[in-house]
């Protein structure tokens, strides 16, 4: 084909696989300063990403504040050597049962790459953390989405969707965004019925927020179920989201397989050291739980008074149903300096998810809510 102009034109259509051509890139939020300028507001309260407003545990802060700049010239530990040993001590497992990634998102990709090939499928819920579905689809694998049942992962329906090409079942426990969870009994029953036919990933990104006695600790089930893989993150409870660090755990055999797809050196040294210290801080988790408990009680009380349907489960977030479009609500909140998560992308139209935090933040949200809901058809 002849070209017009000096720049050579590429016919990418001939190069790009169908599953990539059909996929749309996720567009992250613009930086706060840009958002504030666009929205014409002078402050921005982030209630959209389930971040912990208390910030990192004090012991992790010290590491971060004291991190010597010279160290950035050196590669970090390629496999988070010390952190894996600390995790092994903490959970009574072997260091080789852990893989640390650049946020839990990266370990999702490790698992899918390790087990899926053309024609395989994964199973998860339709209304849950979208990254399981996205990674499967842009990798060319089918994502079978099972509707939630009363806001809970539907175990029976997930099992019924399995076939011989099902490689991984993803269970978000507690679920983001509904906060619902499977009890230990239910999880065990599910694992028993999967019976080793596929990998079961239990994403416990929000497990540190849960105080219910029947909530399962996936780490304690690893010895019994060799096909179980548990995800955890330092982004939520430990407030290290900006450093991007998360990990997976499993039996040594399954982790050895996943390690083959693992990109080493993807986790920076500061993140590894801060995470190591975060685990030692015994005061941080109770303090965060107290803040979340208080804020949830306050919000639920107000939502009930306003007659607004809401779902308040585990985790540091609440879902709220609005009588207007959630994407319109997002814009109206942002114009008032508040970032909330619109839930259309989670397939919950007209719902928003609010990260719970300090009382003054919650008060500002509640003061703003009636203005946002003023809407003419």
């Amino acid at each position: 084909m002849k070209m017009d102009g000096s720049m050579r034109q590429m016919d990418f259509d001939r190069l790009v696989p169908d599953h990539i051509r059909c996929f749309t890139a996720y567009i992250p939020s613009k930086p706060d300063d840009v958002l504030m300028r666009m929205a014409g507001c002078d402050r921005l309260l982030r209630l959209n990403n389930n971040e912990n407003p208390l910030g990192p545990p004090a012991m992790a802060r010290k590491v971060i504040d004291a991190f010597p700049s010279d160290r950035v010239a050196l590669y970090p530990s390629g496999d988070a050597y010390h952190l894996r040993r600390r995790l092994a001590d903490l959970f009574g497992l072997h260091p080789d049962q852990f893989l640390v990634g650049n946020g839990a998102n990266e370990v999702i990709a490790f698992v899918i790459k390790a087990f899926c090939r053309e024609g395989d499928n994964i199973i998860t819920a339709d209304k849950t953390f979208a990254v399981y579905e996205w990674v499967a689809e842009f990798s060319g694998f089918e994502a079978r989405l099972v509707p939630l049942k009363d806001y809970v992962f539907d175990d029976e329906a997930m099992l019924s969707r399995m076939d011989e090409r099902t490689k991984i079942l993803f269970v978000c426990n507690p679920n983001n965004p509904t906060g619902t969870y499977w009890s230990e009994q239910k999880l065990r029953c599910f694992l028993d019925r999967v019976a080793g036919r596929a990998i079961v990933v239990v994403d416990e990104a929000y497990c540190e927020f849960v105080e219910k006695s029947d909530f399962p600790d996936g780490m304690r089930l690893l010895d019994e179920y060799p096909n179980l893989v548990v995800f955890r993150t330092f982004s939520k409870m430990y407030a290290l989201a900006g450093l991007r660090i998360g990990y997976l755990a499993g039996g040594r055999e399954v982790v050895d397989i996943i390690r083959r797809t693992c990109v080493v050196y993807s986790v920076n040294g500061l993140a590894q050291e801060a995470a190591l210290k975060a685990l030692d801080d015994v005061a941080h988790v109770p303090a965060t739980r107290e803040m979340v408990r208080t804020a949830k009680a306050m919000l639920c009380r107000e939502f009930e008074a306003l007659g607004l349907p809401h779902v308040c489960g585990e985790g540091n977030y609440i879902m709220l149903r609005l009588p207007i479009s959630d994407t319109l609500a997002y814009r109206k909140f942002m114009a008032r300096g508040l970032l909330v998560r619109s839930m259309s992308g989670f397939r919950f139209p007209n719902w928003i998810r609010i990260t719970v935090g300090f009382p003054d933040e919650m008060n500002y949200f509640l003061e703003t809510l009636p203005e946002v809901l003023t809407h003419e058809r």
Partner: protein, 436 residues
């Protein structure tokens, strides 16, 4: 050279020379037949191609080749003719080039216009690859729905409904009921042609969901389709028994939104909202005139709006500020106008005509000093062609397009609405308000 790139696509590359005009015409005729058009439609597309090719030959582009692609759509065959703009005077591709609008004999000499008359849709544009693209679309012929076969609403509400993707027979049943129960202004003209909708649904160009009771009774439905890269247009929800309100309408609408939510679409539009559209899900696309009886088009953003910069001529700034404030869109509005710099002498407009709908969309391809005259010539030509609705789409992400604003306003074009993210940024849709 003939190759089949993908299923149901034929491509050939030939020199732009008189000797190859019959080859181009024969390629399109045979290709269109092979891709499913009837003889009449294939002949029309072939003749249109011949006219376009003859026009291009007349422009004497040195040593140029052009590429012809025949693509089978679900209910149409599309012929794309692409050639590099190098060595071409772009203004020759205004639909109005060499046309004296008052003289019918002169009009008849205009190859592009003749070609447009033979097609259902005709579009001239400049592709991202730097090529000039002429697109000719001929639809397959389908029988119109029979008034005798229309289906009355259900006598009783449909209980315990579930949402299901319909098969061909159910689609036709649904359309027979929509045509009986819903005013024609509230559903698309395609719904008058059930076979066409079935073909479109089969190819994934139309999506439908029906609310069906346990015994198979149909209580309602909804339909949607992609419109360009970033927009989904939806129709409905239609609910056929009052007692099924509002649960059924809400379930249908939420399913449609759920499907759109993880698609590339940034916006969902409903241009003809029925009374059964549940309140609170979609926003008004245009400022209301106080009447609730005739709701205007509505939309819903599918993603959190990240904000963007938009360019506008000062004469459009007040309209944009008002609309962005009403719709609560964060936008950095940058005004721009000519400051004495020397413009290109000629402007170019892309014209897309849909003769079935009596509608034409004009889009700027190239700004130039003759913009207002060019717009006026296009409007006059389209009116002569019997096109009742003439629109102009201005992409606010393209600063060069702002210079068309004074001409548009002077000619009686009125800014009607802002379509979020329908272009490289938002689009402003102007409509020609009165006859020239």
């Amino acid at each position: 050279m003939i190759s089949t790139e993908k299923k149901r696509t034929l491509t050939t590359v030939i020199p732009v020379a008189e000797a190859f005009i019959p080859l181009a015409a024969a390629f399109v005729a045979q290709g269109a037949r092979g891709l499913g058009l009837d003889s009449e439609g294939a002949d029309a597309l072939s003749l249109a191609t011949e006219e376009v090719m003859a026009y291009l030959v007349g422009l004497n582009p040195d040593n140029s080749d052009l590429e012809i692609r025949c693509v089978a759509g679900s209910h149409f065959v599309e012929t794309d003719i692409a050639l590099p703009v190098r060595n071409l005077q772009l203004q020759a591709f205004n639909m109005t080039a060499a046309v004296c609008a008052e003289d019918e004999a002169c009009l008849e000499q205009m190859g592009l216009l003749i070609a447009s008359r033979m097609c259902d849709r005709f579009q001239i544009s400049r592709s991202s690859g730097g090529n000039l693209l002429l697109r000719l679309v001929k639809e397959k012929t389908y029988p119109e729905i029979s008034e005798d076969g229309l289906v009355s609403p259900p006598a009783s509400p449909v209980s315990d409904f579930t949402l299901q993707t319909p098969d061909a027979a159910q689609i036709k049943w649904f359309l027979r009921r929509v045509n009986r129960c819903v005013p024609a202004a509230l559903f698309p003209a395609d719904f008058r042609y059930p076979g066409k909708v079935v073909d479109m649904a089969s190819a994934g160009d139309f999506h439908l969901l029906l609310a069906l009771g346990a015994g198979g009774a149909m209580g309602g439905g909804i339909a949607w389709r992609r419109e360009g890269e970033k927009t989904i247009e939806m129709f409905g929800p239609y609910v056929f028994h009052d007692e099924n309100h509002p649960d059924m309408a809400r379930a249908l609408l939420e399913a449609c939104i759920g499907d759109a939510a993880r698609s590339p679409a940034l916006a969902l539009i409903n241009r003809m909202p029925p009374p059964s559209l549940p309140d609170g899900y979609l926003e008004a696309l245009t400022a209301g005139d106080g009447s609730r009886d005739v709701p205007g088009p509505r939309f819903r953003m599918m993603h959190e709006d990240p904000g963007c910069v938009v360019w506008c001529h000062p004469e459009l700034a007040a309209f944009l500020r008002r609309e962005y404030r009403r719709m609560v869109f964060p936008r950095d509005i940058q005004e721009t106008a000519a400051n004495g710099e020397t413009p290109e002498p000629f402007s170019v407009l892309s014209a897309e005509m849909d003769r079935n709908l009596g509608r034409a969309n004009l889009r700027p391809v190239w700004p130039g000093a003759d913009a207002e005259k060019n717009l006026a010539d296009h409007a006059a030509l389209l009116r002569r062609e019997g096109i009742a609705s003439i629109f102009f789409e201005m992409d606010l992400g393209r600063s060069d397009q702002t210079m068309f604003t004074p001409g548009l306003l002077a000619l009686g074009f009125v800014p009607r609405m802002v379509l979020p993210y329908a272009g490289t940024a938002d689009l402003v849709i102007f409509e020609l308000e009165a006859d020239l």
